[in-house]
């Protein structure tokens, strides 16, 4: 089996394949030595633990999928072919890759240490720790090392211990491994580990599983002995970290915050853990009661009863622990908020799709629509399907096995009825296993279809055969469309664009067929003939903008490799060419039409740089914003497009596989609501740099440069379509994101990029009565920049439940917030902003009312929320104060529309920071609990509440708001911080527009810079750092992010809670 990975996996970013090879084979031996075989595995033979079974009938469909023992031999023949280490990840050297996304759940995907969740009986602890074991015995694990591994520059060979991902939380894991190895050892674990483990417990009412998630214990309910000969609880599962993995104790809870009053320490010190605590009696006053925190240390005591099948009536899972929001002040977890873990059998959960890629608002799917309606929570999925993964299993196979009726790709959650037939988990049709699939190349044995990688990975990529092509795969084609009117030249952006292109021209994703072209426009359209053989680029001007045509259709798009000289010439001379222009008009519409004509034969990517309102030709727009009405208007007008020109053109582009990315650099109103349509429906992206100016706004320039670099060099998929399938009975009714929905479940994506997120809302059409679980599959078919047709398939499996309390226990507050935000954007465009605001408030009121009336048995005073939703009102308030939805504060229409675009288009992790920024105190950074990422030490200060009361004059605070980072310096800030970090003698010397931290050779400076750098690495865009003090103009925007505070036009958090409470108890 292990050998297989060597061939099947394409380790995308590394250069040396031989290293992993040998380490893989080494570990194969290890595995064999360690695992005598399933039959001897005492755990596997254990009768199913009642914990799970007591509540649910046996998990039939899934059992088949038990982890398998490693195959006996190395794989070296058969249909799998070594896949060249191409593409999936175009992390270019030097290109900062997505490290672990900020709010990202966890390390779960970060592998090696994860070996730990395995019961000691399977893998001796000694073996559990070394990364290599897990790295290869389970491909999954390495597959998830987000970017950490290739620390810019030459990436180290993958399978080596450095595998221990650069990701963050890993530092401490090794220590965790041991304690986890057996429950006995667990008992002995010092309290520190308990803290670390608390986040593990998935919020669920099925405690058997809850516990198993992180505590390897015998009695795994999923395992039904003898259901099939070939199903065993194999050791191979050792590798992957199931998402339940604890977030390693990066901080010492309670230790670093001695200033907290004792009463708070109990409740708030381990907020991270607080979310997911061990079960607590439902109505034992949970707050200011030390009990919950003692219980974990009584771990084993807790464990055994839950395994013996304690039912809901007697105990409540942590996610349902009742929190009185009015009393419990500090609800924020110490670190990132972790998504709940679906209460699936452990073996299934281990291979389930990673929550960063595929996430559901409810990790337990209600059985009926009426139950869902009762819960008043939105049901939907959030996807980040093309996320940069540093490793991804890639399968080359001449036949791709799919269900014959619903066309679902075979996945880990299908059932093998016998060796010859499998049952689709989406439509339940029984399909034949094709002859080819019977052969297991791993073991070179026949008749083990369930061991194929397709059935072992919830995320994988196929190299598609020719049936998946309507035409030969298109080459990478890039067209740059530049605004060169007077206003544009004035901002000086041309220099930056040309410079960036020159620097990255060799890093543009593509192969020898890559084509490039340029168009510039003011009141006329200028084309550039770059045909090979010309001594210099030739400019062709078309002034008939009413009826645009291509002057020399053949030579405007040229092969980048053959004509690189000319292209470079052009890029060098472009900024000067228009230096003296007096043309103020701008004909964007005709330029876009020209771009469409130029690319319609091949498809490709158009990058449009625009600096003002288009004023000529089709698509001309008029200013619709009245700046005086920004703050006072009761309702915001003009959120919808003014013309359908851009939408129509975008749909034409979409039909021809052309995507348009819009860069808007402007100081005045540009009507992003109308212009944005061009990108929105052609699956492009929108970048907006308000008040861009080369001299006046250097921070904006830096941000633009960095974003442009990422944009030019990131991976890209062409002529893509994505289909989202879900189990029979569920249906998708609304889509959010940038694309065109071509038919009920098919999204047309002319381009797909790794920074795009998608969301869908679902409804339950037929009751899911007889189902234990439902599955969702997103299949993204695209042409890589190397001209390969590939299919990336993600499958997620979630349990079906029939009680409201289970639904609440599985609620994922971040996903719900993001989905609500997308829905609210739609609502504000179709109805009105105030409608959208009301709808969001009502969403929180309704769900808490439903919790109060249907789940709580004992009524208490106060505003009660389940622990898993305790942040819900806070997030809703944050949304109400977000740029997109706020009222009463002066917000430029374009800023607002851009914020709305981002809410719909960004993946969850980045949206959460936009909604609820993270505030850290940074003047006292220590290495305590720090992370070690590629030789750097990253301090991990705790997240503070967003309230001015948390700011102190003698400190310095860093606010990470996603696309911008503020460093607020208190008036009496520690002089040590000023001199050591900022290099300034005193507070008064802090400049008003400081955007850089000087590189000083002091420990404090290094820590701060490491921390800021680490925050920046976690996202694909470049947040600008603003150092601000009381006099800074940006102080207002800093304070606007203090969402727990009252402003003239908005409620404080406490007032908001009172409002909700009033409504809830009506």
């Amino acid at each position: 089996m292990l050998g297989l990975w060597v061939f099947v996996f394409t380790v995308e970013t590394f250069s040396n394949q031989s290293v992993p090879l040998c380490s893989h084979s080494v570990s194969v031996k290890e595995q064999h030595a360690l695992n005598p075989g399933p039959s001897q595995n005492p755990v596997a033979l254990q009768p199913p633990g009642p914990g799970y079974m007591a509540h649910q009938t046996p998990y039939n469909p899934m059992q088949a999928k038990g982890p398998m023992p490693p195959g006996p031999g190395l794989y070296n023949s058969g249909p799998y072919q070594p896949v060249p280490p191409v593409s999936s990840n175009q992390a270019l050297p030097g290109q900062p890759m997505l490290k672990r996304p900020p709010m990202g759940p966890q390390h779960s995907m970060t592998p090696p240490q994860s070996a730990s969740p395995n019961p000691g009986s399977r893998i001796p602890p000694a073996h559990a720790t070394p990364p290599p074991v897990s790295a290869n015995n389970y491909q999954h694990a390495p597959a998830w090392q987000y970017g950490g591994t290739p620390p810019m520059g030459a990436p180290p060979p993958m399978a080596m211990p450095p595998l221990r991902p650069a990701g963050n939380h890993m530092t401490s894991s090794p220590s965790l491994a041991t304690p986890q190895a057996s429950s006995a050892e667990y008992r002995a674990t010092p309290p520190v580990f308990h803290n670390a483990m608390q986040p593990l417990c998935p919020p669920t009412s099925l405690q058997g599983y809850t516990q198993q998630g992180h505590m390897p214990t015998p009695g795994n309910g999923a395992q039904v002995p003898n259901s099939f000969d070939h199903l065993e609880m194999g050791p191979k599962m050792a590798g992957p970290l199931p998402p339940q993995q604890p977030s390693p104790p990066t901080r010492h809870m309670g230790l670093s915050y001695p200033s907290l009053p004792p009463g708070y320490q109990n409740t708030s010190a381990p907020p991270n853990a607080a979310t997911m605590q061990h079960p607590v009696q439902p109505s034992t006053q949970p707050y200011s009661h030390p009990q919950p925190y003692q219980q974990p240390s009584a771990g084993p005591a807790q464990l055994s009863p839950s395994l013996s099948g304690l039912s809901l009536q007697s105990q409540t899972p942590e996610a349902l622990r009742v929190v009185n929001l009015l009393q419990e002040r500090n609800l924020l977890p110490l670190g990132p908020v972790t998504p709940p873990t679906p209460c699936l059998p452990q073996d299934l959960q281990k291979i389930n799709c990673h929550p960063e890629v595929f996430r559901s608002t409810l990790t337990s799917i209600p059985q009926t629509q009426s139950l869902l309606n009762k819960a008043k929570l939105p049901l939907g999925l959030l996807l980040h399907p093309f996320k940069d993964l540093s490793q991804l299993p890639v399968v080359t196979s001449s036949t791709i096995v799919r269900c014959r009726s619903c066309r679902t790709y075979i996945n880990p959650f299908v059932t093998f009825l016998d060796q010859r037939r499998w049952k689709c988990n989406l439509c339940y049709r029984v399909n034949d296993v094709p002859e080819e699939f019977m052969y297991n190349p791993v073991s070179r044995s026949y008749g083990e279809p369930h061991k194929r990688p397709e059935v072992q990975n919830a995320t994988l990529e196929f190299i598609a055969p020719s049936e998946y092509m309507l035409r030969p795969p298109q080459p990478a084609v890039y067209l740059i469309v530049l605004d060169v009117s007077h206003n544009a030249v004035e901002t000086g952006y041309l220099d930056v664009v040309c410079q960036s292109l020159l620097e990255n021209i060799n890093a543009l994703p593509g192969d020898s067929r890559t084509k490039i072209g340029f168009i510039t426009f003011d009141s006329t359209i200028h084309f550039y003939n770059l045909q090979e053989g010309l001594s210099q680029p030739q400019m062709l001007i078309v002034s008939d903008i009413e009826d645009i045509f291509l002057p020399t259709p053949d030579s405007l798009l040229v092969n980048l490799n053959e004509c690189k000289e000319l292209v470079q010439d052009l890029l060098r001379s472009l900024p000067q060419m228009f230096g003296k222009t007096m043309e103020t008009q701008c004909a964007l519409g005709p330029a876009l039409q020209a771009a469409f004509k130029l690319l319609s034969a091949t498809g490709g990517r158009v990058s449009v740089f625009q600096t003002q309102l288009p004023s000529l030709g089709v698509g001309a727009l008029k200013s619709r914003e009245d700046p005086n009405q920004r703050a006072s208007a009761k309702d915001i007008q003009h959120l919808s497009p003014a013309t359908d020109f851009y939408k129509k053109l975008a749909l034409d582009c979409s039909g021809q596989q052309v995507a348009v990315d819009l860069f808007l650099l402007s100081s005045q109103y540009c009507d992003l609501a109308s212009l944005g349509c061009i990108s929105r429906y052609s699956a492009g992206s929108v970048y907006y740099y308000p008040s861009y100016h080369q001299q006046h706004n250097p921070a904006g320039v830096e941000c633009f440069q960095k974003d442009l670099k990422r944009y030019l060099t990131r991976k890209i998929g062409f002529e893509a379509v994505m289909r989202i399938r879900c189990s029979k009975g569920l249906s998708i009714h609304t889509f959010h994101g940038n694309f065109f929905v071509r038919s009920t479940d098919l999204l047309s994506l002319p381009n797909v990029n790794p920074d795009a997120g998608f969301a869908v809302q679902m409804s339950i059409e037929e009751n899911l009565v007889d189902m234990q679980s439902v599955s969702f599959q997103a299949a993204l078919l695209y042409t890589s920049s190397k001209g390969e047709r590939r299919i990336r398939v993600h499958t997620m499996c979630l349990p079906v439940v029939n009680s409201l309390s289970d639904i609440f226990a599985g609620a994922d507050v971040q996903a719900i917030t993001c989905l609500l935000a997308s829905m609210a954007v739609d609502r504000s465009v179709t109805a009105s902003l105030s409608d959208a605001r009301d709808a969001m408030t009502n969403a929180s009121i309704d769900s808490l009312t439903s919790f109060r009336t249907s789940v709580l048995t004992i009524q208490q005073p106060g505003l009660l929320a389940p622990a898993c939703l305790r942040l819900f009102p806070l997030y809703i308030l944050a949304l109400l104060k977000q740029k997109a939805f706020r009222t009463g504060t002066s917000t430029r229409l374009d800023d607002r529309v851009y914020a709305m675009c981002q809410l719909k288009y960004q993946p969850l992790a980045y949206v959460m920071l936009m909604i609820h920024p993270a505030l850290y105190r940074v003047d006292d950074l220590t290495d305590e609990g720090a992370l070690n990422v590629s030789e750097r030490t990253i301090p991990q200060p705790r997240v503070q509440q967003l309230s001015v009361e948390k700011l102190s004059r003698d400190g310095a605070f860093l606010m990470d708001a996603g696309s911008v980072i503020y460093l607020w310096i208190g008036r009496n800030c520690n002089p040590n911080f000023l001199t050591q970090v900022l290099g300034l003698p005193n507070y008064a010397a802090v400049p008003l527009n400081m955007n850089m931290l000087p590189e000083l050779d002091t420990a404090e400076s290094q820590r701060t810079r490491a921390f800021v750098g680490w925050l920046r690495e976690q996202r694909p865009f470049f947040p600008i750092l603003h150092v601000i003090r009381d006099e800074s103009p940006l102080k207002a925007s800093f304070l606007q992010n203090m969402i727990e505070d009252r402003t003239e036009s908005a409620l404080s958090y406490y007032e908001f809670l009172l409002h909700i409470q009033q409504q809830v108890s009506k």
């Binding site: 919808s640 497009p641 003014a642 013309t643 359908d644 939408k647 129509k648 749909l651 039909g655 609501a673 109308s674 349509c677 429906y681 009714h733 609304t734 889509f735 065109f740 929905v741 071509r742 038919s743 009920t744 098919l746 739609d826 179709t830």
Partner: protein
């Protein structure tokens, strides 16, 4: 005279029935994935105004011939047709917008609307038929 009015309405009603059936068929084609949203919407948008005119014609005919009951029956449908054309947002491509038809259950509500209209037109058809025969007999 009376008979002529109803014969005209009957013809008009037949056209509207055909149109309603066409709407239902096209929408269900979209639902079943036989055509894509763009094609479906451009087909349907073309017929939105003719449908409006046909319905308005029937309404006006009833008004001028002073058949109050049938007029009042037709009035809501005619005003609904106008309202929905009038309320189309500026940035949309008509009553049926390909970018939104799959969102928020719009496809279903369009389908429902077409079915209701079909039923309504059938009802009208029989009313006109009956009235026409009555008018012919009375003559």
């Amino acid at each position: 005279m009376e008979a002529a009015v109803f014969i005209l309405s009957l013809v008009d009603c037949c056209a509207l029935i055909f149109l309603a059936v066409y709407f239902v068929i096209t929408l269900s084609d979209l639902e079943c994935d036989y055509i894509n949203a763009r094609a479906c919407c451009s087909k349907l948008n073309r017929w939105v105004v003719p449908e409006l005119v046909g319905q308005a014609l029937a309404t006006v005919l009833m008004l001028v011939s002073l058949h109050w009951f049938v007029f009042l029956l037709n009035l809501p449908v005619a005003s609904w047709n106008m309202y929905r054309v009038w309320k189309v947002p500026m940035g949309n491509m008509g009553v049926f917008d390909p970018t939104e038809i799959h969102n928020r259950g719009q496809l279903k509500s369009h389908m429902k609307e077409s079915m209701i209209k079909l039923g309504f037109h059938l009802l009208c058809f029989f009313i006109y038929l009956y009235s026409m025969i009555l008018a012919l007999i009375n003559d």
